[in-house]
C-alpha cells in the first residue's frame, strides 16, 4: 500500500498562506492606513469588506456559468464539480455581502434595508435566484441529469447576473454612496489602494476555499470509488441522495 493520500490538493497550502498574508495586510490598511471618509466617517470602513465580498460573489456566479459551459460542451463531470463549488462558495460570499450591506445601510441611512439602492436590490434578486440552485440539484435523482440540468441553470443564471444589474439600475435612480462608483474615479489614492488590496484578499480567499472544498469533495468521491472496487457494490450501500456532484 502506498502512502496515505493527501486530502488537500496540491498548492492549497501556498494559496492559504498567500491569502492569510493579503487579508491581514488588507485589514491593517483598512484600520491603520486608509483615511476616514469625509462624508461617512468610520462607517465607510464597511465598504472594504462589503464590496469585495459582493464583487467576488458575482464574479464567482459568472465563473460558475463559464465552468458549466465547459461541462455541457465536454460532458465531463469534473467541470460540473467545479461549477458546483464555484456557485456554492459564491452563495456563501453573497450572503456575507448581503449581511454586511444591510449593516452598512442601517449605519449610514438608518434602515436595515433600502430599496432605493439598485446595487443592493439586484444583488438580492441574484441571491434569490441562486438560492434555488441547491434545491434544483437535490430534486433530480439521476446524477448525470442532475449535473446537466444544474449546468443549464448555471449558464442561464450566469448570463442573468449582468442583465439583471443593468435593468435594475435603469429602473431606479442611482442613490448610492459615491464611494461605490467602482471606477474609482472619486476615491483618493490611499482608499483605492486599500480597496484593491481588500479585493485581492477576498478573491484569494474565494480561490482558497474553492480549492479546499474541491479537494474535500474529490477525496470523498475517490473514497466511495475505492470502497466499491475493494469491497464490492454491496459494501457501499445505496448512495445517499445529494445535491453535490458525485
Amino acid at each position: 500500500m502506498g502512502p496515505p493520500p493527501h486530502i488537500h490538493g496540491r498548492g492549497l497550502r501556498g494559496l492559504a498562506v498567500a491569502t492569510t498574508a493579503v487579508v491581514a495586510a488588507a485589514l491593517a490598511l483598512v484600520f491603520f492606513y486608509a483615511p476616514l471618509d469625509s462624508d461617512q466617517g468610520f462607517v465607510q470602513k464597511i465598504f472594504y469588506i462589503h464590496v469585495p465580498l459582493a464583487i467576488t460573489a458575482l464574479c464567482g456566479f459568472v465563473l460558475g456559468g463559464l465552468l458549466a459551459i465547459a461541462h455541457l460542451r465536454g460532458g465531463h463531470s469534473r467541470w460540473d464539480l467545479r461549477s458546483y463549488v464555484a456557485i456554492h462558495m459564491s452563495l456563501i460570499f453573497a450572503v456575507g455581502a448581503l449581511i454586511t450591506g444591510s449593516i452598512w445601510a442601517k449605519a449610514s441611512w438608518g434602515h436595515w434595508w433600502v430599496w432605493s439602492d439598485p446595487t443592493l436590490t439586484s444583488f438580492l434578486i441574484v441571491v434569490l435566484l441562486y438560492a434555488t440552485y441547491q434545491p434544483l440539484r437535490f430534486s433530480i435523482e439521476d446524477p448525470e441529469r442532475q449535473a446537466r440540468y444544474a449546468s443549464v441553470f448555471a449558464v442561464v443564471a450566469g448570463a442573468f447576473v449582468p442583465m439583471n444589474f443593468i435593468v435594475v439600475r435603469l429602473a431606479q435612480g442611482v442613490v448610492h454612496p459615491r464611494v461605490l462608483t467602482l471606477t474609482g474615479g472619486h476615491l483618493p489614492g490611499s482608499m483605492r489602494l486599500t480597496f484593491t488590496v481588500s479585493l485581492i484578499g477576498i478573491a484569494l480567499l474565494y480561490a482558497t476555499l474553492c480549492k479546499l472544498e474541491l479537494s474535500a469533495k474529490r477525496s470523498r468521491i475517490q473514497l466511495r470509488r475505492l470502497r466499491r472496487q475493494l469491497l464490492g457494490e454491496d459494501a457501499v450501500g445505496y448512495a445517499r441522495r445529494s445535491a453535490a456532484p458525485s
Binding site: G41, I92, L209, S219, L230
Partner: protein
C-alpha cells in the same frame, strides 16, 4: 484625526464602531463556521479512509489462509 472626524457629518466614531465591528465579525464568523464544517467533513472522510484500510487489511489477511470465496450473487 480630530479634524477629520469633525469634517464627517455621519455617525461619530463611538456610534459607528459597533456597526463596523458587526460587519467584520459577520465575515469572520461566516468564515469560521465554514471552516468548522469543512473540518468535520474532512475528519469524517479520514475516519472512513482508515476504516477502509482496516477492512482491506483484514480481507488480505483472510485471503492468504484459504482460497478466495466468491460472494454469492
Amino acid at each position: 484625526m480630530s479634524l477629520l472626524l469633525a469634517a464627517a457629518p455621519a455617525l461619530p466614531l463611538h456610534k459607528a464602531g459597533p456597526y463596523v465591528a458587526a460587519a467584520y465579525i459577520v465575515f469572520v464568523v461566516l468564515l469560521l463556521v465554514y471552516l468548522a464544517i469543512m473540518g468535520l467533513r474532512t475528519s469524517r472522510t479520514e475516519r472512513q479512509l482508515a476504516e477502509l484500510r482496516r477492512q482491506v487489511a483484514e480481507r488480505e489477511a483472510g485471503a492468504e489462509g484459504q482460497p478466495r470465496e466468491e460472494v454469492a450473487a
